[in-house]
């Protein structure tokens, strides 16, 4: 599903040039649950953003679902993204001005789904995430765990083939984190490919494979045996 070849990402600011990714070669298949680990600043988020089509690499090839996308324009990336990818962030990234319902509904708006269908699907997703009773609230009125469940609802609402999660449990206590991990595992079991960045070894234990990054390089790839 995803294949990268000699992926390089360089950030240039006024004075410094940071090589965030250096010759990353990866292949991730459909249905996999992959964890990306590594010390802070090693390039995990950068990699996830490129895989998620939120950013272009500086050099190298990037294949997504058979398309070669590294030179796509923002418009092309958007089109590919909205059909295929859902995102979950460490800091939730809900839109403050919109209610819980509207936040979850957002991806469907851009897919031109009819109003009644949207309502049905949003309610279904909220129920599944156990947050339906908060549909009319604004994000700031919710706890971190609740916000993250809304974010997951938003990520799955369009039935994406791939979910990218950047430290989804990073801002949560262990109970809430556990719940989020259960939801992700369940989604993976239903067939969704999941790529997750994490610092937590126990979260990583849920995955099939751990990719270790160090200073922009992939150092090890551990295949794990599922229980």
């Amino acid at each position: 599903m995803i294949k990268t070849k000699n992926l390089i990402k360089i950030f240039r600011t006024d004075e410094v040039e940071t090589t965030a990714l250096n010759n990353v070669n990866l292949e991730i298949n459909e249905g996999e649950f992959v964890a990306i680990m590594g010390p802070s600043g090693c390039g995990k988020s950068t990699l996830l953003n490129i895989i998620g089509l939120l950013d272009n690499p500086s050099e190298g090839e990037m294949h997504f679902n058979g398309y070669q996308v590294e030179n796509y324009t923002e418009r092309q990336r958007t089109n590919l993204r909205k059909e295929n990818i859902g995102f979950v962030f460490q800091s939730f990234n809900l839109i403050d001005e919109l209610t819980v319902f509207e936040n979850v509904e957002l991806p469907l708006l851009y897919m031109k789904v009819s109003g009644s269908e949207r309502k049905r699907r949003v309610n279904e997703a909220l129920e599944r995430m156990n947050i339906a009773h908060r549909a009319k609230h604004f994000p700031q009125q919710l706890s971190g765990g609740q916000q993250q469940r809304v974010a997951i609802a938003r990520a799955v609402i369009s039935n994406p083939k791939l979910i990218l999660a950047d430290e989804p449990t990073g801002n949560l206590d262990s109970a809430n984190g556990e719940e989020v991990m259960n939801l992700l595992t369940q989604l993976n079991e239903e067939g969704t490919t999941i790529i997750m960045v994490t610092h937590s070894p126990s979260d990583a234990d849920r995955s099939h494979r751990i990719i270790q990054l160090f200073d922009g390089h992939v150092v090890t790839e551990n295949m794990r045996q599922k229980l």
Binding site: N49, L54, E74, I95, E97, Y110
Partner: protein
């Protein structure tokens, strides 16, 4: 401490270069315009104020009342009035008539000869009323001797050079001798009364054979100076019927106008005079300063909100509220001070250009100090206000609120309102400018009822009529010269009027119909291409054609003889037949309507020769000059073009129109700076939302529309409000004209389209940039 503070401020200024520049420039531009306008206003208000005791100086003027309710206000008064007022009313300390020499005079002295037009005939009291410094000669009472002439410094230097000319003689028109009695300082530029030399009334009486004891002829301005403490209202009430007490059938009521108002106020009850411009421009100045200040506040508060996080963090690490207030206030005051400084530098640089535009010599002098201080205070309070907003408002929030971004809503509303006000003002100004332009062009181009183009005219010396037929014959031989005529005045500005006209069955209510009066020669109607409705113009095919009258439509109507010729009417003691009726044409500025007019052929009164030439004027004029100089070398060929005179009527108006347009453009630019700055903050505030929407599938077009729509909504609202305001303002203005345009929907639509276009251009790039940026770069910082 201060040093650290200033350091921070300067670093912030540098870090947000674009916003800082936009912010400072906007305010500086506003300050510049406002100051320029105020300097001009101050200049206009300074007219004549150099006269000592100006509050005791008054002009006596006439309100001529007509049966149909019209009141015609004129400065012209009868000659004996001055002496008579002085004798009968103890309040009147001094009184002086003033009249300009009727046409040009030839002055010779010191072997030099000049044709001069700037002569004034005044009474000796003139120099007691007005503060005119005497440089040489009779300090106490210049002109008290009837054989003296008083020269301005300019004319004295022109005639005699740099010497004291007292006692030297000057000859006028070859047969009047005068001795230089005094030399006075030139009138300053901001004086209503300008002069090159003064002559006594004895000359006026002899030279123009004028009966100075006649109460029925109005030719003179009359200035009086009241005794200290005299009550002018009481005096005005008492002199009201002064003329009628002597001439029982007169329709004249006298009134006083304070000389302080002479320059700016009209004596007509239904006209406001140039004060209108002063008021309008004051309003424009205030609007521009407001726009600029709103603009500044908008940007400054938006900029500081952007630093809410900075404030929060500073507080988390222990900054006191007091310190934060100091930081923001310092920053704001530094900004406004830079803007003020720039503004004043711009004013200095632009003053020469602006002086040219306004046709005044304007300087940033101590007289303007009060305005300068006012502007500085207003701008500094703007600075303090916009500085204290973030200082007090933002820093009063708990850090956690600021970090979570709860605070944004309230001030966003305020800012929208400010932007809407800014745009409303700019658009309304724009519409007003267009309407004013349209009206002025209409006045200039509208059909005056005759063909004013390609008329060359020459003012003649007296008694030219004997030579005139020969001159006319010679001129008509020149190819390109179509018609030649003579008259006592050209139709741009008819001055003579009379109510002494009689016709069969004249009713009592027609007693006081005022007739304009003109003495014209053969071919006058043809030369000016006026439309004859009935009958004919004066022509030498019918002999002398004296004691015949041509009247205009309005006169025919008043006389109740609509379109019939052949009636006998009389003017003064001349009686004769009406041989022609012409269509009404305008012989004054189009701001006033057309009065009844009588024309008669009276060669002894002719003063001007009018020549209709072909399209290609210049070569024809050259040929005329050659013929003229060969045959009539004793009469100077000082020609003028009628169309230029006509344009002169509208010069002041069109100058004001141009100024108004420039200021409108500037107001618009400032508003756009405001919009530009604001949109950059909106896009910044919205960056996260936009990025997230895109992460979840919004494409560029969706987001673009979303942002555009929101901003355009404000502009549309501004347009609507501006439409209403400007419509009513301009209706009111246009109603002051005898001939006016209808505004038409075009101007309003144009203003709307233009402002939308300008707004779109202003915001397009920023929104485009926001929308196309990769979401990863935005979310990174969350």
């Amino acid at each position: 401490m201060i040093k650290i503070l200033l350091n921070t401020v300067i670093r912030n200024l540098y870090k947000q270069k674009v916003y800082s520049i936009v912010n400072i420039l906007g305010l500086a531009t506003g300050v510049t315009c406002t100051l320029l306008i105020l300097i001009w206003v101050n200049y206009e208000l300074s007219f004549d104020t150099y006269h000592k005791d100006i509050e005791r100086i008054y002009t006596v003027y006439e309100n001529q009342k007509y049966a149909d309710g019209d009141i015609f206000s004129v400065y012209s008064t009868p000659s004996p009035l001055a002496e008579s007022l002085k004798e009968e009313y103890p309040e009147v300390e001094y009184a002086s008539r003033l009249v300009s020499t009727w046409g040009q005079l030839v002055l010779s002295a010191n072997g030099k000869t000049f044709v001069e037009t700037g002569g004034k005939i005044v009474d000796p009291d003139f120099f007691k009323i007005f503060s005119i410094p005497v440089l040489y000669g009779d300090y106490i009472s210049p002109l008290s001797n009837e054989s003296t002439i008083v020269l301005s410094r300019r004319l004295s230097e022109k005639l005699f050079g740099d010497i004291d000319p007292i006692g030297l003689s000057i000859e006028i028109n070859s047969n009047y001798q005068f001795i230089v009695g005094a030399v006075v300082e030139n009138a300053p530029e901001n004086s209503s009364i300008h002069y090159d030399f003064f002559l006594p009334f004895k000359f006026f009486k002899e030279y123009w054979e004028y009966d100075l004891s006649d109460w029925e002829a109005n030719s003179f301005h009359l200035f009086v100076k009241l005794k200290d403490g005299a009550n002018s209202e009481y005096l005005a009430e008492n002199i009201r019927h002064h003329v009628r007490q002597r001439i029982p059938y007169s329709n004249v009521e006298l009134d006083l106008q304070a000389f302080e108002k002479y320059h700016l106020y009209s004596i007509s009850k239904n006209k406001s005079g140039p004060i209108w411009y002063v008021q309008v421009f004051l309003l424009v100045a205030v609007l521009i300063l407001l726009i600029a200040c709103f603009n500044y506040m908008n940007l400054a508060t938006a900029r500081s909100e952007r630093r809410a996080r900075e404030v929060a963090i500073r507080k988390v690490v222990g900054a006191q509220r007091r310190g934060l207030v100091g930081l923001f206030l310092t920053e704001s005051i530094v900004f406004t001070t830079i803007a003020l400084g720039l503004g004043i530098v711009f004013v200095e640089l632009l003053l020469p250009v602006f002086s040219d535009l306004t046709n005044r010599t304007l300087t940033l002098n101590p007289g303007n100090l009060k305005f300068l201080i006012a502007v500085v205070l207003i701008v500094l309070s703007t600075g303090v206000l916009s500085g204290s907003y973030p200082a007090l408002f933002l820093s009063s929030f708990l850090p956690i609120q600021v970090i979570r971004g709860v605070f944004r809503q309230d001030s966003a509303m305020l800012r929208k309102v400010l932007v809407i006000i800014q745009f409303t003002m700019s658009i309304a100004l724009f519409i007003c400018t267009c309407v004013i332009y349209k009206q002025l062009n209409f006045l200039k181009d509208s059909d005056v009822g005759y063909n004013k183009d390609n008329i060359v005219y020459v003012e003649m010396l007296d008694d030219f009529y004997e030579e005139y037929s020969e001159l006319k014959g010679e001129l008509l031989k020149i190819p390109g010269v179509h018609w030649v005529t003579a008259a006592n005045q050209m139709p741009v500005n008819f001055l003579n009027s009379t109510w002494d006209v009689n016709w069969p069955n004249k009713s009592v209510d027609s007693e006081d119909v005022l007739f304009q009066l003109s003495f014209v020669d053969f071919d006058f109607i043809e030369t000016f291409e006026m439309d004859v409705i009935q009958g004919r113009g004066f022509s030498n095919q019918f002999g002398e054609d004296t004691l015949k009258f041509i009247i205009n439509e309005s006169a025919a109507e008043k006389m109740g003889m609509v379109y019939t010729i052949g009636e006998k009417i009389s003017l003064w003691n001349y009686t004769g037949e009406v041989i022609g009726i012409v269509k009404d044409f305008n012989f004054n500025s189009l701001q006033v309507g057309v009065d009844p007019l009588i024309m008669m052929r009276k060669p002894s009164s002719f003063k001007y020769i009018g020549i209709r030439v072909g399209e290609d004027k210049d070569p024809i004029i050259n040929k005329i000059r050659k013929v003229w100089n060969r045959k009539f070398s004793h009469i100077p060929f000082n020609y003028r073009l009628l169309e230029e005179d006509f344009n002169y009527f509208y010069q002041a108006e069109s100058r004001m129109g141009k100024l108004f347009a420039s200021f409108t453009a500037i107001a618009f630019i400032i508003s756009c700076l405001g919009l530009f700055g604001l949109v950059s903050f909106i896009t910044e505030n919205k960056a996260r939302e936009v990025a997230l929407r895109k992460v979840f599938g919004a494409n560029v077009d969706n987001v673009f529309q979303l942002l555009f729509k929101e901003i355009l909504k404000w502009i549309v609202l501004s347009i609507a409000i501006a439409w209403i305001i400007s419509f009513f303002a301009m209706e009111w203005w246009l109603n002051g004209f005898a001939y006016r345009i209808e505004m038409g929907i075009g101007i309003f639509i144009m203003a709307a389209v233009l402002s939308l276009l300008v707004a779109c251009l202003t915001i397009y790039r920023q929104i485009a940039r926001l929308v196309t940026i990769a979401p990863a770069h935005v979310l990174k910082y969350e």
